[in-house]
């Protein structure tokens, strides 16, 4: 699913954010991406998402070299991916239902399908009772559930999660992790960035570790 060959990225004149990183994630696999702050986890996720470009190396997703995708076609690449952020990034002026529906509306999905899919996804993440609430009326865990629902609603092949439990307490973090595992069981490939060592140890998933931009043994 994801093949990264010698990915190299430098911001300005500082030391590399990614230093010849190579990795391989199989279709339907759940991997933890870990490392201390500044290790390059977010950079790698942004690059996989084509929010940033690498300076050298090659990245294939589904066999497509993503560096070669022209700017006006990036949207098609992003439609295969769901992105979950540490800070949720829900639109504050829309309800939970509207936030999830919005992700489908911008893809031109008919309203009837949007309503049906939104409801089903809310059910999957256990948020139907909060569908009319605005993000700021929700707890951190509930906001992250809504964000996961938004990432899942368009049936992505891959989910990139950047510290999705970073702002949550341990109990809620476990619940969120379970939601990602549920998505994996349905065939979605998951790259879950975290520096929570306890979560990594308790899980049964492969770990990719970065340190100062380099891949190291976990």
């Amino acid at each position: 699913m994801i093949q990264v060959f010698n990915a190299h990225k430098v911001y300005g004149s500082s030391s590399p954010a990614l230093d010849n990183v190579s990795l391989n994630v199989k279709r339907g696999e759940f991997v933890f991406l870990t490392g201390p702050s500044g290790a390059g986890k977010t950079t790698l996720l942004k690059i996989l998402f084509r929010w940033e470009n690498i300076d050298s190396g090659q990245i294939l997703i589904n066999g497509v070299n993503i560096s070669k995708i022209p700017a006006n076609k990036i949207y098609a690449h992003r439609r295969q991916i769901g992105f979950v952020f540490q800070d949720y990034r829900l639109l504050p002026n829309k309800t939970v239902f509207e936030n999830i529906a919005f992700a489908q509306e911008i893809l031109g999905i008919p309203q009837k399908t949007v309503r049906k899919r939104t409801w089903e996804t809310l059910k999957n993440v256990g948020l139907t009772h909060k569908k009319d609430s605005f993000p700021l009326q929700l707890s951190g865990g509930e906001q992250q559930r809504a964000a996961i629902a938004r990432a899942l609603v368009n049936d992505p092949q891959l989910i990139l999660a950047d510290e999705p439990t970073g702002n949550l307490d341990p109990e809620i973090s476990v619940e969120i992790l379970k939601l990602f595992e549920k998505a994996q069981s349905l065939g979605v490939t998951i790259v879950f960035a975290t520096h929570n060592q306890e979560m990594i140890r308790s899980g049964k998933h492969p770990v990719i570790m970065l340190h100062r931009g380099k891949r190291v043994q976990p």
Partner: protein, 304 residues
């Protein structure tokens, strides 16, 4: 078809949402564009009114052939024969020295009393040739006048060459001025509207970023902003046209008669419909372009 309709409704609703989110900036920008389009509209009215005079002049092309006092009847007939052979001739009038003097006195006795005291008649006999409108009147008139000037018994030929040339030169200058001023105003407006839309974009930055991340097409993101720019332009120009109409009605009511008698029947006319629609179309284009500048730049930075 249904998908396109849904897309269009979505674009309109998003545009409305964007406008509501930055109402103050939106109205300031409409006011600015209406001021700029009012200036352009007033200049155009002025130009259209003066063009009306030029058309009237073209409709009333005259050549006056002044005759020598010692002209013979044969020479006079030659002149008349040449005039009647002209394909451009509409009518010909002959004025004797006496009739010219009488008409002069009738028209100018109160304005030039000193001349009225002259004992002898200073005016020559003449032929007044009224010609049909010609495309390049000054050149054509020059050619016709040249033919008469060569004839025996002709003292001078006058068709107001200098005056018409100067007026046409002035109109040309006005055209250049209008195009330059219009161009500058348009450029200024594109920049102003572009800045307004930029503010609107920055107020929705997180939403746009999210849309890009979820996989919205650039067109889907751009269209509401382009539409917002066009709406700003159209509203600005519509208000401007209303103001120009009001100004024109006021000037016509207050000074219409005075202007007409002082300046060869000049009327301060409103813009012809084609000009008014042209301004509205231009304003939509200006708004669209202004938005395109900002939103295009914003998205291209995010897509790098």
């Amino acid at each position: 078809m249904k998908a396109y309709l849904h897309f269009a409704i979505n674009v309109v609703l998003t545009t409305y949402g964007n406008i509501r989110a930055s109402k103050k900036v939106f109205f300031v920008s409409i006011a600015t564009s209406s001021v700029a389009f009012s200036i352009l509209g007033l200049f155009l009215c002025f130009y259209v009114s003066l063009s009306g005079i030029l058309e009237k002049l073209d409709d009333q092309v005259r050549v006056i052939v002044y005759l020598e006092d010692s002209i013979t009847e044969e020479q006079s007939l030659d002149i008349e024969e040449l005039a009647r052979k002209l394909p451009e001739l509409e009518s010909i009038k002959s004025f004797s020295r006496e009739s010219a003097w009488e008409e002069f006195k009738e028209n100018f006795s109160d304005k030039l009393p000193v001349l009225m005291e002259l004992e002898s008649n200073p005016l020559p006999a003449s032929y007044d040739l009224k010609l049909k409108p010609v495309s390049d009147s000054v050149e054509k008139l020059k050619e016709i006048a040249g033919k008469f000037a060569k004839l025996e018994g002709v003292e001078a030929v006058d068709f107001g060459e200098q005056w018409i040339s100067r007026f046409k030169g002035f109109m040309l200058f006005l055209q250049v001025f209008l195009v330059s001023a219009g161009g500058l105003l348009t450029l200024g407006l594109v920049l102003i509207l572009s800045n307004t839309i930029e503010l609107s974009i920055y107020s929705k930055q997180s939403e746009i970023e999210l849309m890009l991340m979820i996989g919205a097409t650039p067109l889907f993101i751009k269209l509401p902003f382009l539409l917002e720019g066009a709406v700003q332009g159209i509203l600005g120009s519509t208000i401007a046209l209303g103001f120009v109409k009001g100004f024109q009605l006021y000037v016509d009511a207050q000074f219409g008669e005075d202007l007409a008698s002082a300046l060869f029947g000049l009327r301060f006319d409103y813009l012809p419909p084609a000009y008014a629609w042209g301004i509205v179309l231009l304003s939509a284009l200006v708004g669209w372009l202004g938005s395109m500048l900002s939103v295009g730049q914003f998205i291209s930075i995010k897509q790098k």
